[in-house]
């Protein structure tokens, strides 16, 4: 198994470099220039050249590329954001934990809800519960995350006054947070993160529950389930011991593969709920044409996906004896 894991890690490295390279050249191939933001027709061309020199844009692309790699790999530096007038690194370090917080909670929700419902639906195949959850899951699966977010906002954060239980945006109550007790602060954070993570989690859970149901139904048909029944085990032991373990393994991989969707969803959900995370950074960068910020955001999301998949693969190898012992 060690060879397998080391090999997986080694494969991830060129993958990350590929991501970086594609991103770098894609962004530098874009028309215009990062310094456009300063540009006005009256500007002295010389002054403009000056600015370009300051940001190292006058150097050949290859040199810029190598410098960039050097910065990223050695110092975790992503250059300077001209629009925000501060190093990209600072901006990222501020936003990233918020996004990770949101995504992690959503992932937890996704797994518990998705797997639980999937199992119940499969066990009670063709029942009312199964049919109802299948339609519900399909509906949530087909719902743009911003729509779910808006519906939740409308229902629980202002639209309906009777159920105005949650704040509409932000991570904390800006006015009162500082004056709260520790417990109060925790509660404040909780009610702020509740709706965004629910929005992000439900959509993903719908997808997972569909897979989970399918996998378990597939496993239930296997020969070894018949063997287990022939031993005289109860149906519960048959399904939950012999079936579940086999059905859960592919879910690990699917979870890894669903990460890009989770992060894409996070971008939208952050926008809906005014959550100060990477998604906001990305959308701001879009409107400000912030080249270096883009590069960093893409790279970091890509890296998180690669690492997430790597973790999923390693987890899979540990769970499946056929991989573990080969």
């Amino acid at each position: 198994m060690h060879t397998y894991i080391i090999r997986r890690i080694l494969i991830s490295i060129p993958l990350l470099f590929g991501l970086l390279t594609i991103n770098f050249f894609l962004i530098h191939a874009a028309p215009g220039d990062p310094t456009d933001i300063f540009y006005n027709p009256d500007m002295d061309p010389e002054a403009r050249e000056n600015i370009r020199r300051i940001y190292g844009l006058d150097q050949p692309l290859g040199v810029q590329y190598l410098k960039y790699i050097q910065g990223v790999v050695l110092k975790f530096e992503f250059g300077y954001s001209i629009a925000k007038k501060r190093p990209v690194k600072d901006e990222i370090l501020e936003a990233l934990p918020n996004t990770i917080q949101l995504s992690a909670l959503a992932l937890l929700l996704e797994l518990s809800l998705g797997i639980g419902i999937g199992i119940l639906a499969a066990v009670k195949q063709q029942s009312t519960f199964d049919n109802a959850t299948r339609v519900t899951a399909l509906t949530f699966y087909s719902m743009p995350s911003f729509y779910l977010g808006l519906v939740l906002l409308f229902l629980f954060a202002g639209g309906v006054s009777a159920t105005h239980w949650f704040p509409a945006s932000g991570m904390v109550d800006i006015v009162r947070h500082e004056s709260m007790s520790t417990l109060g602060r925790l509660g404040d954070r909780a009610i702020h993160i509740f709706l965004p993570s629910l929005t992000l989690g439900i959509g993903a859970a719908a997808g997972i529950s569909r897979y989970m149901r399918g996998e378990l139904l597939e496993v239930i048909r296997q020969d070894y389930m018949r063997t287990a029944r022939a031993k005289g085990l109860t149906e519960r032991v048959v399904v939950f011991k012999h079936g579940l373990r086999n059905a859960l393994m592919p879910i690990i991989t699917i979870m890894g593969l669903s990460l890009p969707f989770l992060f894409s969803g996070a971008v939208i959900v952050e926008q809906v709920f005014g959550w100060p995370g990477m998604g906001r950074v990305a959308v701001d960068a879009a409107f400000q044409r912030d080249y270096s910020m883009f590069l960093a955001v893409n790279l970091i999301f890509g890296a998180m996906v690669v690492v997430g998949n790597l973790v999923a693969d390693i987890l899979y190898a540990m769970v499946d004896p056929r991989v573990r012992l080969s």
């Binding site: 494969i11 060129p14 993958l15 590929g18 991501l19 594609i22 894609l26 962004i27 874009a30 028309p31 215009g32 339609v135 399909l138 509906t139 699966y141 087909s142 719902m143 743009p144 995350s145 911003f146 729509y147 808006l150 519906v151 906002l153 409308f154 202002g158 639209g159 593969l257 890009p260 969707f261 992060f263 894409s264 971008v267 939208i268 926008q271 990305a282 959308v283 960068a285 879009a286 409107f287 044409r289 080249y291 883009f294 955001v297 893409n298 999301f301 890509g302 996906v305 690669v306 998949n309």
Partner: protein, 362 residues
């Protein structure tokens, strides 16, 4: 009856054509000219074309099915059914799938018949202040927005964007994915390794953010760019699927038999591998349409997709989300339209999979 329906469609198309011919010239100019935003008239033409093509395909398919039925009639009662009729029966028995198909059909009809269905012009802004932000009434079913435009009409016209994006982006993704997957699966070895590593890398990009990047930096939000980008970012799943399918089929004995007969590469791919991969490709294409529509809606919601005044469901929500707590029907109705459409495609895809996939049928 079919002929009557067909006649009606041709008639409608003819009516459209009257207003369409002049837009054709306009469209071509737009397509090949500078990146001027397209207009509603371009969409009118395109959607009609797509609709007619779709109808034609449906007719051909339907008559094909009828032929099968006739051929079946002369066979012994004991023999197994034709594949097609089994599929049809399975599909029709699945009420949800039929509902999905009807939703899609309705969407196509609505997109085609926009000028007849929409009570008002979706773009023209009213100039009187008192016509702005009206509540729903018999006159304006969903009220008016802050530019005094009828929201209901805008939602009806918005169906065109979803239809177009879903169809074209999926088409691009499936074509690209099939080609790449076929090459990787057929040749295998190092060709496969290189291609699949590239696919892995593409899969690591969070699609939405990469598309945002390109749109923002290239400063081009034309619908063509959006469709192309969505297509370019959605082919990897199809590629993996086709590759896996080819790999599995290459192990089958009929493929070996064809090689033993001396069949060349072309025949092996187009006669033996591709036809047998078609079923999962069709299913995945249908399920993928929903995703592309969602992606476009998300972009528009961020204000980075289809640009106003052209109505798209996503940008209607973007436009009116500020009114969520007051004129809530506007964003929620536009969002609901997206949900219904995507649900329709997903139901259809699920139904097709259940009907076509013999593994699940047993």
């Amino acid at each position: 009856m079919i002929l009557g329906l067909f006649g009606l469609l041709v008639g409608l198309a003819g009516w459209h054509a009257g207003t369409l011919w002049d837009t054709l010239a306009h469209t071509l100019e737009k397509l090949f000219g500078a990146n001027v935003p397209y207009t509603l008239r371009d969409l009118d033409f395109l959607v009609s074309t797509l609709f007619l093509l779709g109808m034609l395909a449906a007719l051909v398919l339907y008559s094909g099915l009828s032929c099968q039925r006739i051929r079946q009639a002369d066979r012994t009662a004991q023999g197994p059914e034709r594949q097609w009729s089994i599929v049809k029966r399975q599909f029709l028995k699945n009420r949800l799938a039929v509902a999905g198909a009807l939703i899609i059909l309705a969407l196509y009809l609505v997109a085609f018949l926009c000028p007849f269905l929409a009570p008002y012009d979706p773009v023209e802004q009213g100039d009187r202040v008192q016509e702005r932000l009206l509540s729903p009434s018999a006159e304006h079913l969903l009220g008016t927005d802050r530019f005094a435009r009828d929201v209901f009409s805008r939602i009806i016209y918005g169906s065109r964007i979803s239809l177009l994006v879903g169809f074209l982006a999926m088409g691009l993704a499936v074509t690209l994915g099939t080609a790449v997957g076929a090459v990787a699966g057929y040749y295998g070895g190092w060709v496969d390794s290189v291609i699949m590593r590239f696919v892995d890398m593409m899969l690591s990009f969070p699609t939405l953010i990469l598309i945002i990047t390109v749109i923002a930096l290239w400063r081009n939000q034309s619908i063509w760019i959006i469709i192309t980008l969505i297509g370019l970012m959605s082919w990897m799943g199809v590629a993996r699927l086709v590759r896996g399918q080819f790999m599995a089929l290459k192990e089958r004995e009929f493929f070996q038999a064809a090689r033993a007969l001396g069949a060349g590469t072309g025949r092996l791919i187009f006669q033996h591998l591709l036809p047998n991969s078609l079923t999962p490709i069709i299913v995945s294409a249908t399920l993928r349409v929903g995703n592309t529509i969602l992606l476009e809606a998300s972009l528009s919601y961020l204000g980075l997709g289809v640009q106003p005044p052209t109505p798209s469901w996503g940008n209607i929500v973007y436009d009116t989300k500020g009114n969520l707590f007051t004129e809530w029907w506007m964003p929620l109705a536009a969002g609901m339209a997206i949900v219904i459409t995507v649900v329709g495609y997903n139901l259809l895809g699920d139904g097709l999979r259940d009907a076509l996939d013999p593994r699940l049928r047993e």
